[in-house]
Symmetry: D2
Subunit: 281 residues, 4 copies
């Protein structure tokens, strides 16, 4: 096996002795554990484990198979970490999240390779071109949502995509589209205390006089903006912020939270547990 | 006039020359400005000013009258800061906010005097007694809300109260009660990104897997938990927090935010502007 | 063994197979692991593990002995969590940290029992009395540091103390005194970016115009204010804060950081690794 | 005068009646004040005022002259805000701060125009080229510091520079060089609680086990890394961060703090008051 660290992930029903059983298999094959995180969720009675390891003289397939034998039925066992994930970024008009990800990509700080940028507008083409990343313009005008999504799937067809990233993409994705990438789509959206629903949330937040602006990065599920949360952060604002200044303050926190959440996802640190995440950071 | 700083507050429709007119009156009477804050809200076209000053040879009444003469009709002009506000705390079962306020009160750090604690339960009597503050137990069992509030008003009658503080008071106040203390009741409540409505918000926040727990201090208006926000803050949580641990993390931020908001109110730093606050901190 | 969770702590030289060996011993005795944290420090090549468990049919002594047999020489193995730690608080004049700890103690939120308060001044007696905790006044006037510390040790003699907490205690402890409580004394002190040494750090921070005020909770070692850090936090300040207002802002963060650090210590979550801590929070 | 807001800045010895005198001059010329901030520093007895205004029928020169007549001798009065500042960025190897500033520049979010990037290394040429900004490579090898700085001054000669920004520029500037740009050079550097001096501060911070990593943006004065602080921020870290991971966590906060500080400087919101700043944000 490889000399650089690989990442073992186990997700299964909880029962006594799991750690001992797993570490037994690993030890028998000469695997050397570097870091190990486990969590048992009382509510769902599920066991989650993430292990970084080096060495070992078994193939990855053999290791997974032997682990499955000592785990409860239905256990999910994967070994990864040997290659950069491939991602496609979706964006519309706002440049701050896309620019942040392109910068990190260009300098090897993203933890993934950006294969392309998809946009329903042309406005971000210039920014994307600066970083020599393909810009796939798929206009939505005159198309039904279904037709637009089919056009997107067509341009995505040549790419082997691990994750889609919605970096201020302003179109709602259909359930059918989302199901093609189960828990592989990450979105960023503004968040407030309290929350504001409906149009123009920054206007509403301004009118309520909030003192904090936040951002939430989450997996996309059918329930719009309500998938499992990966990371959140906030910045303070005050009465001197107009609605557009609140939005600008929100942009700084959005891009940092999105980059942080993606790093966690790309390093295989995020597990799903119903509508919650387990994050081993 | 006094040798210690007084606080002038002006709230009126905006028009050119207000600062010059106000400082002209102050200067004519030998008033020495220590700090001065102004804000003009574009949306409401209102002008807000808070001035700390010493010296001057006019009475406070004369000063207010002369200021009103140079200001638009309907201007609110007050001069305060010469005495500690008197407050009564309302609480039910949770001790963290009440304890924080009593501690500060006992050491002169609150910026106000706590004249009494009102509670629908007896459980916080022991804590209140430790600080030699009257504990007014007004049980609600067997009483209609109106009857309970009348009983509260009866026990409050001997007190000249500037502000009421709801320090985790778990009863909903009637509109009629609130109108007796317009913008003089401050409440603290938990806040989440996103917000959760209905019963047991910490349970809901837990089930959604939020990564941040917050608290909001606000004036109480008829719209429950939706009055003008004075201060907010948050703390990070993660998947290892059970619902009760999220609640515990929330308590630390609640008490600090409440104390901070009250300090701002007691120092006359908070203005109302529709459903928003202007906070000169 | 007990039905409530016990806490196993292991601290030893790292080598392959430790987790498997430890979980093997635990499993053989029917112990049920609730949560498990491990960390291997590359620099020191040491292994740290904290396990909460229930059940099991061995005595605690047998379990520790069997674990020691499968671990490298010199391993530290302890099992605790079955009783509240007993602490004595040292304070001088400032009430904010002491008050915070007494409040939590009174309501069972501290995670420890405060057996007494020691002070070189009488000023905090009234506060301590409010919570029915013995106040041990040991004046230092006219005494050498050695004589004062002997007097303190005399009043402490009747108490079986697990930890000492310096809650703004303004006397420097001798190396000899510190050695009597190795890594069992926790201190809180203000912190700045950049740091300021010498007298009146808040005055220096003010003169430099810092924008952030912080607090650090740490174990006390011979190197004054430089022992292993347990927890830190900050609050923003600005140019309008005078030196005394910076100090007041610092107090809120000091008391919360101290309470947080103590909770971590009392729950056996903090390990020492040279001059650093490992904190399983 | 212009229809868009101009910015008046006044910095002078304090005396009674300044605001009234200044607003009198402004009102006489039909100037309409949009926002107004004042601060009097007790320690230095200086008065600072920043006013955004529109309208008025005097020239800017006349306005400044008339204001000077009503102010104490030695007052500094400037009116600006009518053009974007021109800046040159200095960098060496690290891309995160430079990339952040170039991105904002490209999208009109910086509040200034980046005229060129100066570097003693070639490594950041590719990044700079992406944004069509001149990259001025001035190698230092084989040159004395004086000779290197003369070479830099030569390449800067064609540019009318308002501010220099040290975006992780790893060369120490001479006092002579700094005096050519008095309080017009902004630097960003890492900050810790406590501070660590000497080589490799991240290594030292790691060895001490700090729980917080910070960044400070400040004006450059002769005292290296000790000029007046403009903005600061922090991020939490823990024992699982190696020294290089602490440095990476520090990079995110460095770039955001630098961008925030520059926005404040470019909007004329920062005043100098001895070794402190007054920041009207």
């Amino acid at each position: 096996m490889a000399n650089f660290p690989l990442i073992l992930r186990v997700d299964c029903a909880d029962r006594p002795g799991l750690i001992h059983a797993i570490t037994g298999v690993l030890g028998r094959h000469g695997v050397n554990i570097i870091t190990n995180d486990e969590f048992v969720d009382d509510a769902s009675e599920r066991f989650f484990m993430r292990t970084e390891f080096v060495g070992g003289h078994a193939t990855r397939e053999d290791l997974c198979r032997e682990l499955a034998e000592v785990l409860p039925d239905g256990a999910t066992v994967t070994i990864g970490g040997d290659r950069l994930p491939h991602v496609v970024i979706f964006a519309t008009r706002e440049h701050h999240c896309l620019g942040e990800l392109l910068l990190r990509h260009a300098h090897g700080d993203l933890g993934a390779s950006i294969d392309a940028v998809v946009s329903n507008r042309a406005v971000l083409r210039e920014l994307t071109d600066r970083f020599d990343v393909p810009f796939l313009h798929v206009p939505h005008e005159g198309l039904s949502r279904d037709a637009h999504e089919r056009a997107i799937l067509d341009v995505l067809a040549p790419y082997a995509v691990d994750h889609l990233v919605l970096a201020k993409y302003m179109r709602v994705l259909s359930t059918d589209f989302i199901h093609r990438y189960p828990h592989r789509i990450v979105n960023i959206h503004h968040s407030f205390l309290p929350a504001f629903v409906g149009a123009n949330p920054y206007r509403q937040a301004f009118e309520r006089g909030v003192k904090i602006i936040g951002a939430t990065a989450h997996f996309v599920t059918e329930a719009l903006d309500e998938g499992p949360i990966i990371a959140q952060s906030v910045v303070p604002v005050d009465h001197s912020f107009r609605a557009d200044e609140m939005a600008r303050a929100g942009r700084d926190v959005e891009k940092i939270v999105l980059a942080k959440a993606l790093k966690l996802v790309f390093e295989d640190r995020v597990f799903l547990n119903g509508n919650r995440t387990i994050v081993f950071d």
